[in-house]
C-alpha cells in the first residue's frame, strides 16, 4: 500500500551494539544536544512587557464609536443583538430629548447597552450587522476580573473617549496613533 505521507521512517530494530548498551556515550550525545539549547533563541514572549503584534482583523473587546463631534453613533436598532449568535448583547432604547443633540447622533439612542463578555464569542457579527458603524471590535483582549457580574460590560466600559475633550484617547481608541507603552 502506498504510504500516506513521505515521512515514514523505518525503525531500526537491530540489537544494540556494545557501545549503545553501555548507554554512556549516547547519554553524552544527548547531553550535548540539551546543552546546545542554551544558546538557542527563546520561544518565550514576556507577555505584559512584550506583546505579539495582532493581525489587522483581530477581534478583541468591543468599543462603541462616536462621530467626529463626539456624538454616540449607536441608534439602538438592535441589529447587533439579533445578529449575535451567543445572545450576549442587551440594550434599551431611549428617545433623544431636545438639547441632547450634542450627545447622540440620531433621534433614538441606547440608554443601556450591555455585552456579557463571558457569553461573547468574539465572532464580530455585531460589527458586521451595525448599519451605523457604531460597534467595533478592538485589539484589547483577555479581560480579567473577580466576579461574573463585572464581566457584563456597560456603556461606561465601551464608549470610546470624546474626540474634542480627549483627542488623544479618541485617536488611540480609533487606532489612528500607536498605543503608548505602559510605563513599568
Amino acid at each position: 500500500m502506498e504510504a500516506l505521507t513521505q515521512r515514514t521512517k523505518q525503525v531500526d530494530r537491530r540489537p544494540m551494539t556494545l557501545l549503545e548498551r553501555i548507554y554512556l556515550w549516547n547519554i553524552f550525545k544527548g547531553m550535548l544536544i540539551t546543552f546546545s539549547h542554551f544558546f538557542k533563541k527563546r520561544a518565550t514572549v514576556k507577555y505584559p512587557e512584550q506583546t505579539r503584534p495582532f493581525s489587522p482583523v483581530f477581534r478583541g473587546l468591543h468599543v462603541l464609536n462616536r462621530d467626529e463631534e463626539g456624538r454616540e453613533r449607536c441608534t439602538a436598532c438592535g441589529l447587533c443583538a439579533v445578529a449575535c449568535p451567543a445572545e450576549a448583547i442587551t440594550m434599551e432604547a431611549a428617545e433623544r430629548l431636545p438639547g441632547e443633540e450634542n450627545l447622540y447622533r440620531e433621534e433614538k439612542y441606547a440608554a443601556r447597552y450591555e455585552i456579557n463578555m463571558l457569553r461573547c464569542i468574539f465572532c464580530g457579527l455585531c460589527e458586521e450587522a451595525c448599519p451605523k458603524d457604531a460597534i467595533y471590535l478592538s485589539e484589547t483582549f483577555a479581560p480579567a476580573n473577580y466576579s461574573r457580574r463585572s464581566f457584563i460590560y456597560g456603556k461606561n466600559d465601551m464608549v470610546i473617549p470624546h474626540p474634542v475633550t480627549d483627542k488623544e484617547g479618541f485617536d488611540m481608541a480609533k487606532g489612528l496613533i500607536e498605543k503608548k507603552k505602559k510605563k513599568s
Binding site: L24, I27, T34, H37, T44
Partner: protein
C-alpha cells in the same frame, strides 16, 4: 576548654546547616532556570531581579497552603515521615570536611563537624535511615498509591546502595581509612581518587543519582505518571520538607562525591602548603564548593536530558550491571594493590 569545644561545634553545625539550606533553596531556582534554558524558555524571572526571590516565594506559598492530614492515616507516623527525611538529609553533612583546618587563637579548628574514623560508614548508616522517611511517609498516608511508590522507592534505594557501597570499597582499599578527612588529605598530597577509580566514580555517580531519586531514576516520585509517589497525601510544608530534603540530599551527595573522588578541598594546580593557614582554608572551601556546584549542575543537566527508566530496566541496571561492575572494579583494585605492594 569544654565549652569552647561545644561552642566551636555549635557554630560549625549552624554554619553547615544554614549553608545546606540556602544551597538547597537556590538549587530549586537553578534547577528551574536550567530546565528553562534547556527547553528554550527563560525559567522563573518574575519574583525579584532574574526571579531570584522565587525560592522564597515558593517557600512562602508552601507555608500558607492548607495542612491536610488524612483522617485514616497514622498521625504520628505521618508527621514523622517528612521530619525523618529532613533530619537524615541534614545529618549526612556532619562528616564532610569542608576545608583544611583553620587556626583560632593558636588553636587548630578543623572545619568538619565530626572527624570520626568511620566517616563513610556513618554516611551509609544515615542514608539508609533516610529510606525510612520515605517508607514511613508512604505507609502512614494509608493510600495504596503512596505505599506502592514508597515500596518502589525503598527497593530502588536498597538496590543502588549495594553498588554504591561496593564502588566505595575500592576507594577505601586505596586510602586504607574510612575517615573522610584522611581520604581528602591523601588526595591533597597525591592524585585525586578519580584517576585511580574512573569506573568506581561512574558507578558512584549513577548510584548517587538513584539514591537522590533524581531523573533518570525518579520513579518514586513521578508526579503525573505514577501518581506523585510516596508524598501524594502530603500538603503544605510537610510536602515542602520532602521536596526540600531531596535537594539537600543532592547537595550533600555532590559534596560527598567531590570529597571522595575529586580531591575534596584540594584546589588543583595550587600547592596549599605554601599558603597561609587561613588563605588555604578559604581556597579549600572555594574549591570544594565549586566542585560541588559543578556536580549539582551535572545532576540537573542529566535530569533534563534523560527520560525516566522503566522499573524493570532500573532493576536490571542496578543488579545485573552496576553491582557486577562494582565487584569487578573492587577485585581489580585489590589485585593491583597486591601487585604493587609485592613489587
Amino acid at each position: 576548654m569544654e565549652w569552647e569545644f561545644i561552642l566551636e561545634k555549635l557554630l560549625l553545625i549552624t554554619a553547615v546547616v544554614t549553608v545546606s539550606l540556602v544551597v538547597a533553596m537556590y538549587a530549586t531556582y537553578v534547577e528551574r532556570k536550567f530546565a528553562g534554558f534547556i527547553q528554550d524558555r527563560y525559567g522563573p524571572d518574575r519574583a525579584g531581579p532574574f526571579g531570584l526571590l522565587q525560592p522564597l516565594a515558593d517557600g512562602l506559598k508552601l507555608f500558607f497552603k492548607e495542612e491536610v492530614i488524612p483522617s485514616n492515616s497514622n498521625k504520628i507516623l505521618f508527621v514523622l515521615g517528612p521530619c525523618l527525611a529532613m533530619l537524615t538529609a541534614m545529618m549526612t553533612s556532619a562528616v564532610i570536611p569542608w576545608s583544611s583546618p583553620i587556626e583560632v587563637n593558636g588553636k587548630t579548628v578543623p572545619l568538619q563537624v565530626a572527624d570520626i574514623n568511620i566517616g563513610i560508614l556513618y554516611v551509609f548508616g544515615v542514608v539508609s535511615v533516610g529510606v525510612y522517611g520515605m517508607m514511613i511517609g508512604g505507609w502512614a498516608s494509608n493510600n495504596k498509591f503512596s505505599l506502592m511508590a514508597a515500596l518502589r522507592g525503598a527497593s530502588q534505594a536498597i538496590s543502588y546502595e549495594l553498588a554504591l557501597g561496593l564502588s566505595l570499597i575500592a576507594v577505601l582499599m586505596i586510602s586504607g581509612s574510612l575517615s573522610l578527612r584522611v581520604i581528602t588529605e591523601q588526595q591533597v598530597t597525591g592524585m585525586w581518587n578519580i584517576v585511580y577509580q574512573p569506573l568506581g566514580f561512574m558507578i558512584f555517580l549513577v548510584c548517587a543519582l538513584a539514591e537522590c531519586n533524581r531523573a533518570p531514576f525518579d520513579l518514586p516520585e513521578a508526579e503525573s505518571e505514577l501518581n506523585f509517589g510516596y508524598h501524594q497525601e502530603y500538603s503544605s510544608m510537610k510536602l515542602g520538607f520532602f521536596l526540600f530534603a531531596e535537594y539537600i540530599n543532592m547537595f550533600i551527595s555532590c559534596a560527598l562525591i567531590a570529597t571522595v573522588y575529586l580531591g575534596g578541598y584540594d584546589m588543583p594546580f595550587v600547592d596549599e602548603t605554601t599558603l597561609s593557614v587561613s588563605t588555604a582554608a578559604i581556597v579549600g572551601a572555594a574549591a570544594l564548593f565549586s566542585k560541588t556546584f559543578l556536580l549539582i549542575l551535572l545532576f540537573m543537566w542529566i535530569r533534563w536530558t534523560l527520560p525516566r527508566f522503566r522499573y524493570d530496566q532500573l532493576m536490571n541496571l542496578g543488579w545485573k550491571s552496576l553491582i557486577p561492575l562494582a565487584l569487578v572494579n573492587m577485585l581489580v583494585t585489590g589485585a593491583v594493590i597486591l601487585w604493587t605492594m609485592k613489587g
